[in-house]
C-alpha cells in the first residue's frame, strides 16, 4: 500500500471528510509550497476547496497558472482519487523532478480535487450512481444539473439535455450551479491561467476544444500534437491506449462543457481527460486501479504542463 506520512492510504477510496482532512495535512506538511483556498461553496453549502501549489510568495500580480479539476461528475471516483494522488505527487516531487520544479519556479498550479462535493457526498451516503449536482430544479421532482453541460459555451445546444431528469441536463441557465460559477469567477478573476485540465473518467481519451461546434479550434494543430505526446507518455507507463482529438470528433457533440468555456475565455491549453476504462467495471473501478491510473496519468499531465511552461503566450 502507498501511504503518506500521515497514514493516508492512496490506494483506497475516501469520503469527502477524509479528503478534506488530508488536504489540511498536505498543507501542514508542505507549508512553503501548498496552501488551501476556498473559491466558493456548493449548493448544499459545502466549501469548494482548491489546493494552490506556489513558490512565488511575493508576486504582486498573479503568476501564470495551471488549473486542474477532478471529479466534476461525482460518481467517477477514480478521478477524485487520482486528484489526491496527483496533489501528493506535486508536493513530494517538487525539488526532485527537474521539469516540475522548473514549472513551479515560475508558475502556480491550482488543483480542485472534489469539484462536485454535494454529488460526491451523495455517492457515499445515498446513491453511488449519482453524477450531477444536487440543486433543486423548479417544476421537476428530479434534482441536479450536469455541471459539465452548465458552462457558457454553446450552452443549451443539442449536445446536452433540457430534461431535468436526464444525466446531461444543462440547467436553467449558464452557470446556474455555484460549482461551475465559482470556477469561472476564479479563472476570470485570476486573469493569468494558461492551461485548464478537467479530469473525468472513463473512456481513455484526451480531448480539446471544441465540443459544441464542428470547426477546428484556432490552435488545433498545436493542441493535437501535444495531445499525441501526452497519450504516448501515458501509454509508456502501463501500456494503456488513449484516443485523442477534439471532443466533437473524438466522442460526440457536447455543449456547455468546461474546456470549451476556458478556451473561449483565452485559456489556450484546455484539455479534458477521460481516465481508464478496463471494459469490466465502468466507473466502478476497483481501488486496486487507483495507483496505476494515477501513475500513468502523471506523465501525460507533466507533458502538458511542461509544454505550457515552455510556450508562454
Amino acid at each position: 500500500l502507498e501511504r503518506s506520512s500521515s497514514g493516508f492510504d492512496f490506494s483506497t477510496y475516501h469520503t469527502i471528510e477524509e479528503i478534506y482532512s488530508w488536504m489540511d495535512d498536505l498543507v501542514a506538511q508542505h507549508p512553503n509550497l501548498v496552501s488551501k483556498i476556498q473559491i466558493g461553496e456548493s449548493y448544499e453549502k459545502r466549501p469548494l476547496y482548491v489546493l494552490k501549489f506556489s513558490t512565488g510568495r511575493t508576486a504582486k500580480t498573479h503568476r501564470p497558472a495551471i488549473w486542474i479539476d477532478t471529479g466534476i461528475h461525482s460518481r467517477e471516483w477514480i478521478t477524485q482519487a487520482t486528484g489526491v494522488w496527483t496533489a501528493n505527487k506535486i508536493a513530494t516531487e517538487y525539488g526532485k523532478d527537474a521539469s516540475l520544479t522548473a514549472i513551479l519556479t515560475s508558475m502556480d498550479i491550482f488543483l480542485e480535487i472534489v469539484t462536485n462535493p454535494d454529488g460526491f457526498a451523495y455517492t457515499h451516503s445515498q446513491n453511488r450512481m449519482w453524477r450531477k449536482t444536487r440543486s433543486i430544479n423548479a417544476g421537476s421532482s428530479c434534482k441536479g444539473v450536469d455541471p459539465n453541460r452548465n458552462w457558457d459555451a454553446g450552452f443549451g445546444g443539442p449536445g446536452a439535455s433540457n430534461n431535468p431528469c436526464s444525466e446531461t441536463y444543462h440547467g436553467p441557465h449558464p452557470f446556474s450551479e455555484s460549482e461551475t460559477k465559482s470556477i469561472a469567477d476564479f479563472i476570470l478573476g485570476h486573469g493569468n491561467v494558461m492551461a485548464a485540465i478537467s479530469i473525468h473518467s472513463y473512456s481513455q481519451m484526451l480531448m480539446f476544444p471544441y465540443g459544441y461546434k464542428d470547426e477546428p479550434a484556432p490552435d488545433h494543430q498545436e493542441l493535437d500534437d501535444l495531445a499525441k505526446e501526452a497519450v504516448d507518455a501515458l501509454a509508456a507507463v502501463h501500456g494503456t491506449r488513449y484516443t485523442y482529438g477534439s471532443t466533437m470528433h473524438t466522442i460526440y457533440q457536447a455543449d456547455g462543457i468546461t474546456i470549451d468555456w476556458t478556451y473561449d475565455n483565452g485559456v489556450k491549453y484546455s484539455y479534458t481527460f477521460e481516465l481508464r476504462d478496463t471494459g469490466r467495471y465502468g466507473f466502478l473501478l476497483p481501488a486496486s486501479q487507483i495507483i496505476p491510473t494515477a501513475e500513468e496519468t502523471w506523465p501525460a499531465l507533466t507533458k502538458i504542463m511542461d509544454h505550457v511552461h515552455k510556450h508562454p503566450y
Binding site: S203, L284, A287
Partner: protein, 93 residues
C-alpha cells in the same frame, strides 16, 4: 441508501449507425429507467447501459430483436458496490 441488486451493465459495441440511432431511442424510454454510463456516440465506441433488474428482460429482447450485439459488463452492480464498500472499510481499519 439506494441499492442496485440485480442491476446489470451491458456493453454494446456495434459498427452500425442504425444501432446507434436505436440506442438513442431506447434512452428516451423513461419507464425503463436506464442509466447510460457511456452514451451512444458513434459506431465502434462502446455504449454502456446500467439496466435496472426489472428492465433487463425487455432491454435484452430489444437488443436481440434488432441484432444489436452486447455483452454483460457487470453481472450484478450491487455485488460490486458491496465489494467496494468492504474494501473501503477494511482500508479504514
Amino acid at each position: 441508501q439506494k441499492r442496485f441488486v440485480g442491476d446489470q451493465v451491458l456493453r454494446v459495441l456495434t459498427d452500425k449507425e442504425e444501432h446507434i440511432v436505436l440506442l438513442r431511442e431506447l434512452e428516451e424510454s423513461e419507464d425503463l429507467q436506464l442509466d447510460y454510463w457511456a452514451a451512444p456516440a458513434k459506431p465502434d465506441l462502446p455504449v454502456d447501459i446500467r439496466v435496472p433488474f426489472p428492465s433487463l428482460q425487455p432491454v435484452k429482447i430489444f437488443l436481440e430483436s434488432h441484432g444489436i450485439p452486447y455483452t454483460i459488463m457487470i453481472e450484478d452492480v450491487q455485488t460490486l458496490l458491496d465489494e467496494e464498500k468492504e474494501a473501503m472499510e477494511k482500508a479504514r481499519k
